[in-house]
């Protein structure tokens, strides 16, 4: 469960995020939709405590992000924008490293790693060093290591970026599975169809500001557009008109 209340963040004169508020419920998929540079990644970075908000607040499972960052980090799994792996370590070793940093060890950790490897269909690359992995393979390892501690909240920054069709489909199936497990899934994307296909709730962000919030149906109703893509354009367009 993620609750965001008027978060703002500036880099010098650039106002990256302004007064962003939304809620992401457990057992639901919430999509942050917006064009490149809209402030999606910055919002996520504040949620996973990498950046400190200039103002506003956010809680994850009721824990204040600036107050208890360590506790917050235990309750989230993050696929960040930067998803570099350790190329001299194997898939298993990469995942194990993060598991140990989450205080997992022994049989519990190894069992969790095996489960993620079979869940993400990584048996063939499990004991290979990650050097030279394809984009899809790297992504799987990144996701596995982010979820090794089985967090109730999952933050995914552009999870399908650079993936081919088959990998994208697998990825979507995986996100839906996370929802079935009752997790709170928050992911960002700039791809309309993807958000439409997956999300229970959509938060449209443009130029650092929330332009519209709601389920796909609600967004269509709000903007008076039949088609979600038109709704998206309408939402952003109106905001630009105001700005």
């Amino acid at each position: 469960m993620i609750e965001v209340l008027s978060l703002s963040k500036s880099f010098g004169k650039v106002k990256a995020v302004q007064n962003v508020s939304f809620n992401a419920a457990d057992g639901q998929i919430t999509g942050l939709l917006g064009p490149n540079g809209a402030g999606k990644s910055t919002t996520l970075r504040m949620l996973y405590t990498l950046l400190k908000p200039d103002s506003g607040s956010a809680t994850i499972d009721g824990l204040e992000i600036s107050g208890q960052p360590q506790e917050v980090l235990r309750r989230i799994g993050v696929l960040a924008d930067a998803r570099g792996l350790y190329s001299r370590l194997t898939t298993r070793e990469n995942i194990r490293y993060y598991g140990r940093l989450h205080d997992l060890e022994g049989a519990a950790l190894e069992g969790q790693i095996d489960q993620l490897i079979s869940l993400l269909d990584m048996q063939s690359i499990a004991d290979r060093r990650t050097e030279g992995f394809s984009t899809g393979e790297k992504l799987k390892v990144s996701i596995a290591r982010a979820l090794v501690h089985n967090p109730p909240n999952v933050l995914l920054d552009e999870p399908t970026n650079g993936l081919d069709v088959m990998s994208t489909r697998a990825m979507r199936a995986f996100v839906l599975r996370l929802r079935e497990e009752g997790k709170c899934v928050l992911f960002t994307s700039h791809i309309m169809q993807e958000v439409a296909a997956l999300c229970d709730q959509i938060v449209i962000i443009s130029q650092g500001v929330v332009a519209a919030t709601g389920s796909p149906d609600e967004l269509r109703a709000q903007t008076g557009q039949e088609n979600l893509e038109d709704a998206f354009v309408a939402a952003i367009g109106s905001e630009e008109g105001l700005g």
Binding site: Y48, T49, L50, L51, K52, Q70, E71, L73, R74, I76, V78, A80, D81, A82, R83, G84, L85, Y86, S87, R88, L89, E93, Y97, Y98, R100, L101, H102, D103, S142, R145, A146
Partner: protein, 391 residues
């Protein structure tokens, strides 16, 4: 704190698998011993050549002094025909020194008068002065010997002529004569330590950021400071290994090169001295890791870090180079400067001088405190947003 160990272990494995990086570090460990060995061999050879060869002395007017000629020949001086113009020959560098026995020498000599000999040489030519000194010694010897014979013939004790006798007591031990070489040793040791740590630390911070694996790492639930400390400590085995390797290299050189034969001196670098130097340098290992962690977390890219780190190793090792030429006493103030104190102490070990325990303590303590401060600054840098964004 257990997670510091997790970070340490991972970095150790990761860096050990990066064979190319750490083997480059090893090269620096062997650099000092190889250079020093080469220098000793070179100097040893020239010194030995000088001593072994009989000195050849061009003499003009040999026939005027058969006695002197016989005496010089006994002194292992080979007399050869002099060039027609001795001054020109010396000036041109064809001969180091030429002895001229003038035509009036035989008359003066047999008449009991002081007979004159001329020695032609160029005192500005350093390389010739050893030969000149040797000839002068031989001629003085002949002078004394003949004088004594003459006095004895007249029934006078030769001691009348000797008002004072100078006995030279040289306090330089054989070890301290080789000091000019040994003074460079601390320089090489510190250089090796810094270069052992550099590749590991660059890779662990600036490299991680560049490859985009730093941001995900920081999302794990542990204080940033622990990550910084774990990474810093993981470089210590590499720096320490380089230290051991360098010391072993020096030991091997002093063991296997026939130094005594070459330089005529013996160097006291036994196992105990080596171990003491190793312990003395451990705080420097800590210092090297701390300084480099600070730089690697401050610089934006591995490339930028790469331009910094070699200098960082060079600066603390510079005083060691200076010590080879400017002897500094082991005063307390020198111990207050990290790395400088250790270099002076290492020199004292090599000279087999008495070491003051308080100097060792002060030097180690100051270095450790200084390293802790730098570590603290590095941790503060890790806690800023800058560490991820690189700006």
């Amino acid at each position: 704190m257990k997670k510091v160990w997790v970070i340490f272990q991972k970095e150790l494995v990761d860096n050990l698998r990066d064979t190319r990086s750490w083997t480059t570090g090893l090269f620096w460990a062997m650099f000092g011993p190889l250079i020093l060995g080469a220098m000793i061999m070179l100097l040893g050879n020239t010194m030995r050549d000088k001593l072994d060869q009989p000195l050849s002395l061009p003499v003009l007017g040999r026939e005027n002094a058969p006695n002197l000629v016989a005496f010089l020949s006994q002194q292992d001086i080979e007399l050869v025909e002099a060039p027609a113009n001795p001054r020109a020959a010396v000036l041109a560098g064809d001969a180091n020194v030429v002895l001229i026995i003038p035509a009036d020498y035989p008359d003066d000599f047999s008449g009991g008068k002081t007979a004159t000999l001329q020695l032609v040489f160029d005192s500005t030519r350093q390389s010739a002065m050893a030969d000149v000194a040797r000839i002068q010694n031989a001629l003085n010897g002949y002078d004394r010997y003949t004088g004594m014979l003459r006095l004895s013939l007249r029934g006078v004790s030769p001691d009348v002529m000797r008002v004072v006798r100078i006995e030279e007591i040289d306090t330089a031990t054989p070890q301290s004569q080789a000091l000019i070489f040994l003074s460079m040793l601390p320089y090489f040791i510190i250089f090796a330590i810094f270069n052992g740590a550099a590749p590991v630390i660059t890779d662990a911070t600036a490299g991680e950021r560049e490859r985009g694996s730093l941001e995900p790492l920081l999302i794990n639930p542990l204080p940033r400071g622990w990550i910084a400390i774990g990474k810093m400590l993981s470089a210590a085995p590499f720096a320490g290994f380089n230290l051991v390797l360098t010391l072993m290299g020096f030991a091997a050189i002093f063991q296997f090169l026939p130094i005594e034969e070459m330089l005529g001196v013996q160097i006291g670098l036994d196992g105990r001295a080596l171990f003491s130097i190793f312990l003395l340098c451990l705080p420097i290992v800590f210092l090297a890791c701390a300084i480099q962690t600070l730089i690697a977390s401050y610089t934006r890219t591995t490339k930028e870090a790469g331009t910094w780190l070699p200098f960082v190793g060079l600066i603390p090792s510079m005083p060691g180079l200076a010590l080879a030429f400017l002897p500094v006493k082991a005063d307390l103030w020198t111990m207050l400067i990290p790395t400088f104190g250790q270099q002076i102490l290492i020199n004292q070990f090599l000279r087999s001088e008495p070491i003051s325990a308080s100097n060792v303590l002060v030097s180690s303590a100051v270095t450790i405190v200084f390293s802790l401060v730098i570590t603290w600054v590095a941790i503060k840098l890790y806690e800023t947003e800058r560490i991820v964004m690189g700006r």
